[in-house]
Structures are given as structure tokens and as C-alpha cells.
């Protein structure tokens, strides 16, 4: 009897032990499955996000390549570029009218993301392309300097002083003793670049094969608000459109125009004063329809010191006088007027005019970032950015879409 009872008890214990073991085992499997599912879900989400950013980085790389004169293509489906723990390639297709389609495909783990960007080639406006351009001639008196710098790289300091300036004309260019053009000089067809002893053109001196046309200025129609005179105090002009019959910022005064703004000014006088622009939210365009006189000691420019953010579009035929101003930034475009940079003037930007005279000791520092479409633009503007589905990519591959 004792033997039989002990055997029964041992069987019960075994049953309980197996039951508990199976229960624990089952719980472990269930817990592991939940954890694994959660892990896979998170991993997939993380990989998709990483693939998205990798595809976007690939597009940025392709855009830099395109703006540097390349095709924009990076790698291929069979020869992918590796980066950030994944691989990518960018297909570049010329879709006509100066447009390029870039499709970046990025793979990380099991995730694939495709992003399309379409860029449009855009020539920079004429007035941004030259350090100096004089339709009927350029005279550079003794001791002048025309050179370049890149405002996107930093300020005008030694390492950022370049030799990419371009002086051009539809007629002759005359460079007097001791002056220097750090860059190229291009005279009009049949004309020449005349250099006196001791003057320098570090790049090439040549004649153009065809004339450069200076487009007329289309002055916007804004009702006049009469005269604007600011004397000996600081003031901010809010964003908007303005038309003043005369615009005087007198000595000791400081005016800051908040962009986006358009100013039509029939007469402009800066007499040793300050004229600045806050272009954080948009550019400031200044149309001058009459006399422009910037007197000695004046300073002007955008607060961000990006010359292309302040453009003086001068439609009048009166001579434009720019006296010595230090640390002044902006671009002057005067297709009908002669611009005279008085002795000691110092401009960061560029001047395009009917005729230009740089008086002795004046300097122009052309911002090379303007030459490719202005700050932030390098001749290829982004017109479309979108995430593509695999089906949309197939349509593009088969020519049913751009």
C-alpha cells in the first residue's frame, strides 16, 4: 500500500512540474513574440526614417554636383554609393527646358525610400554677373582695385579675397597706372582692354565676340507719397511698397527698411547717413527714376551683408555719384546712366551701367556667389521635391511621367 501511494504522489508531482514548466515556457514564448514583434516594428520604423534621410542626403549631394557642372548622377542601381550604414544612388535625367529630374533611391535594411527632385536652370540676372560692366566703356583710374570674395564663405578677409572678378564692356576698358583687376577683363567686339604701365589684369584680357544687351528697367507703378526726409535719428520703414518724390536721409540719420519691400524713389540723397535693409523675410528693391547722389561717409547695405539682397535699379539718365563709403554692400544697375565711383569709394557688390568711371583709389569687391544666380542659387533652382512610390517610379521609368 505504501509503495502504491508513494508512486501516485510521485506521478502527481511530475504532472504539476510539467504543467508549470509548460506554463512558464508558454509565457516565455508569448513574451518573446511580443518583444520580437515590437522590436521588428521599431526597427522597420527606424530604418525607414534613416532611409528617408539617406535619400534626401543623396539628393543634396546630387544637387551640389549639378551646380558644380556635373550631371547630378551618383552611382547606379548596380554600383551604389555607401553612406550612413545604407546604400543609395541618384539617377539624373534631362527632361528638357533646362530642367533635370533627380531620383534618389536609398536602401537601409529592408526599407527602400525614393525621393524625386526637379531642378530648373536659371541664369543669373546681368547685373549680378559682373564686378563692373559699362555698356559704353569702363575707365579705371590709378590705384583702383577690382577683385572678388564669396559672401557665403565669410567676410572680406585675406583667405576669402579672390581673383574671379569680371570687368566687361561693349566698348573699351581703360586701366590706369597702379590699378589691378583680380580676374578677367573683356572689352566689346572690336575694342580692347588698354592697360597702362604698372596696371594688372590677373586673368585674361580679351574682346567679346558679341554685344551684351542691357535690359531696360520696368519700374513698378506705385502712387507717390511725396517727400521722405529723415534727419539725425534712427527709423525703421516697415515692409511694403513705397513711392517718394524725393528721398533724403541726412547726415547722422539711420534708416532701416524691412523686406520684402519695393521703393520707387524719384530722387535719392544719402548725405553721410546710414541706409540699411533687413532682408530676413524678403529682399529690398530700390528703383531710382531720377538723380542719385550718395555722399561721402554714407554706408548702406543689407544687415546680413549679402550684396545681392539690396539692388539699386536706376532708370534715369542722370549721372550717379557714389562717394567714399566704407563697408557698404549692394548692387547698382543703371543701363541709361554713367556711374561715377568717387575717389576712395569702397563697394562690396557690383556695378553695371551705361558707363563707369572709377576714380583713383576706389575699390569694388564683387561677390562671386552672385554670379550663379545670387545668394543661395547656383543656376539650378529646386522646383519640386516629393517622395515617390514604387508605382510612380515605374511610370517615370516607362516614360509615362517626368
Amino acid at each position: 500500500m505504501h509503495h502504491q501511494k508513494a508512486a501516485r504522489e510521485r506521478g502527481t508531482a511530475l504532472f504539476i512540474a510539467v504543467y508549470i514548466t509548460m506554463l512558464v515556457f508558454g509565457l516565455m514564448i508569448a513574451s518573446s513574440s511580443i518583444s520580437l514583434g515590437s522590436y521588428n516594428s521599431h526597427r522597420s520604423s527606424v530604418e525607414r526614417t534613416r532611409a528617408h534621410f539617406l535619400a534626401d542626403a543623396g539628393l543634396s549631394d546630387a544637387l551640389v554636383n549639378l551646380r558644380s557642372g556635373g550631371t547630378g548622377a551618383i552611382g547606379s542601381a548596380g554600383y551604389q554609393a555607401a553612406y550612413g550604414g545604407g546604400t543609395f544612388w541618384v539617377e539624373a535625367t534631362d527632361i528638357g527646358d533646362g530642367r533635370t529630374s533627380l531620383i534618389s533611391t536609398a536602401d537601409i535594411g529592408t526599407e527602400r525610400v525614393l525621393i524625386q527632385m526637379i531642378t530648373e536652370s536659371e541664369d543669373s540676372p546681368l547685373h549680378l554677373q559682373y564686378g563692373l560692366f559699362g555698356d559704353e566703356g569702363v575707365l579705371i583710374d590709378s590705384g583702383c582695385l577690382v577683385n572678388s570674395y564669396d559672401s557665403t564663405a565669410g567676410g572680406y578677409v585675406g583667405w576669402n579675397m579672390g581673383s574671379d572678378a569680371h570687368v566687361g564692356s561693349n566698348h573699351g576698358i581703360e586701366i590706369k597706372t597702379g590699378s589691378k583687376i583680380a580676374g578677367d577683363a573683356t572689352a566689346g567686339p572690336g575694342d580692347k582692354v588698354s592697360t597702362e604701365y604698372g596696371s594688372t589684369v590677373t586673368g585674361t584680357s580679351s574682346s567679346a565676340s558679341e554685344l551684351v544687351e542691357l535690359p531696360a528697367i520696368d519700374v513698378p507703378a506705385i502712387p507717390s507719397s511725396g517727400s521722405y526726409i529723415l534727419s539725425n535719428k534712427s527709423k525703421t520703414l516697415p515692409s511694403g511698397d513705397y513711392h517718394f518724390s524725393s528721398f533724403y536721409v541726412e547726415s547722422g540719420a539711420r534708416l532701416t527698411v524691412t523686406g520684402p519691400a519695393t521703393l520707387v524713389l524719384d530722387e535719392v540723397f544719402l548725405s553721410g547717413s546710414r541706409f540699411f535693409c533687413d532682408t530676413t523675410n524678403g529682399p529690398v528693391k530700390v528703383y531710382c527714376t531720377g538723380k542719385v547722389s550718395i555722399e561721402s561717409g554714407s554706408r548702406w547695405g543689407p544687415l546680413n551683408k549679402n550684396p545681392s539682397d539690396l539692388v539699386f535699379l536706376i532708370s534715369s539718365k542722370d549721372d550717379v555719384l557714389i562717394a567714399s563709403g566704407s563697408d557698404s554692400y549692394g548692387v547698382f544697375y543703371a543701363p541709361n546712366a554713367k556711374v561715377i565711383l568717387e575717389s576712395g569709394s569702397d563697394i562690396f557688390g557690383g556695378v553695371t551701367a551705361k558707363e563707369i568711371e572709377m576714380q583713383s583709389g576706389s575699390d569694388v569687391h564683387w561677390d562671386s556667389s552672385m554670379g550663379d544666380g545670387g545668394a543661395g542659387g547656383d543656376g539650378h533652382q529646386v522646383v519640386l521635391w516629393r517622395v515617390l512610390s514604387a508605382a510612380e517610379k515605374k511610370l517615370i521609368d516607362h516614360g509615362y511621367a517626368d
Binding site: 520604423s45 526637379i118 523675410n281 522646383v383 521635391w385 516629393r386 517622395v387 517626368d402
Partner: protein
Amino acid sequence: MRAARGISIVELMLSASIFTMVLWGLFSAGPKAVGLFRVNFANSNVDDRAMHTIDRIVREVRSAGLDFCTPRLGAPLSSPSLTFQEPSGFDGEVVWGPTTTIAFELDPGEKSDDIDNDGDGLVDEGRVVWTQNPGLAGEVEVILCRRVTELADGEVMNGADDNGNGLRDEAGLSFEFDGSNLTVRLSLADLDSTGHQVTRVIEETVAIRN
């Protein structure tokens, strides 16, 4: 016969004591562990929902056209909804897709009255709704997330910035523009096993690309 003699009373008492202590330990720690697990689970669940929802919203609006985004309010103002259009292709010029709205809506049965009208333990909660072609025949509506608080965590409807994030009286879902940058903020709530409210606030800033 020796093997069948069994165990002594001392051995029995000792093993019974150890067994009792182990059981006591298990039974006393178990509920606490389970409770902690449930609280963590609730926290984790809210975190997951918040991240998934904001990722989805950001993915949608990143490729929107800036000019099509309305309203475009900047700090200290913000909007509980955003209407926008994304490019659907390029045919000589950008082809824009249907109008889409992402907005906060109060739950059905819930009112904006500081009372839990629907008896789910949360007060004035709502949901994030994605709507394509709003108000048109082809309208499609998808609920991206539930249990969104009517106002952001720490915010009170008083015209002031109570939670110090630079926005006044912002909703549980808010869109704030700074130029072409859009900041999306989402405030989610849930109840843990003890009935306490768990709230999470998450924000993400995205540059609008078109």
C-alpha cells in the same frame, strides 16, 4: 525499507518554511511588478502612439507647397489644423494633388466643457483626423490618433503661455510656422492601470520643401 521511510519532521518544517517564504515573496512582489509593468506599458504605449502619429504628420507635410499651407501662424500663435497640397507630379510645371487637412477634432460625445462627457476617464479629449478633399464628393477621412488632449499639456485657455513653449493657448495638436519651417506639437493622454492619467508631449520641426 530505508528509502520508503520518508523525511524527518525537521526537514519537513524547514522546507515548508522556505516554500512559504518564497511564495510570500512571489505573492507580495508579483502585484507590484505587474502594476509597474502596466504603468510602464501605458507610458510606452503613449510614447509609441505619439511618435508614430507625429512621424506620419511630418511625412505628409514635408513635401507640401508652402504657398498652399493655411493657416500659416507664427509664435505666439498656432493652429490646431493645417490645410495643404502636395505635388502629385510634373508636367512642364508642378501638378498639385488634392487638398488635405490634418486637424484636431473633439471625440464624438465629448464637449469642450472640462467634463468627461463620454465617461472614458479623459476630459475633453479628441483625435487627429487626416482628411483628403474635405467637403467634396471624394472626401476620405482617416483617424491618425485618438486620446489627444484639447489643450497642450500645461496650457490653460487664458491668453497666456502657461507651459513656457512660446505659444499661447495652443491645442493638443498645433502647427506653428517660422518662415518655411513648421513645428508640429502633439499632446497625448491615456490612463494607466491605476487610473492615473499619463500625458506625453512630442514636437518635431520640418522644413517645407516646395
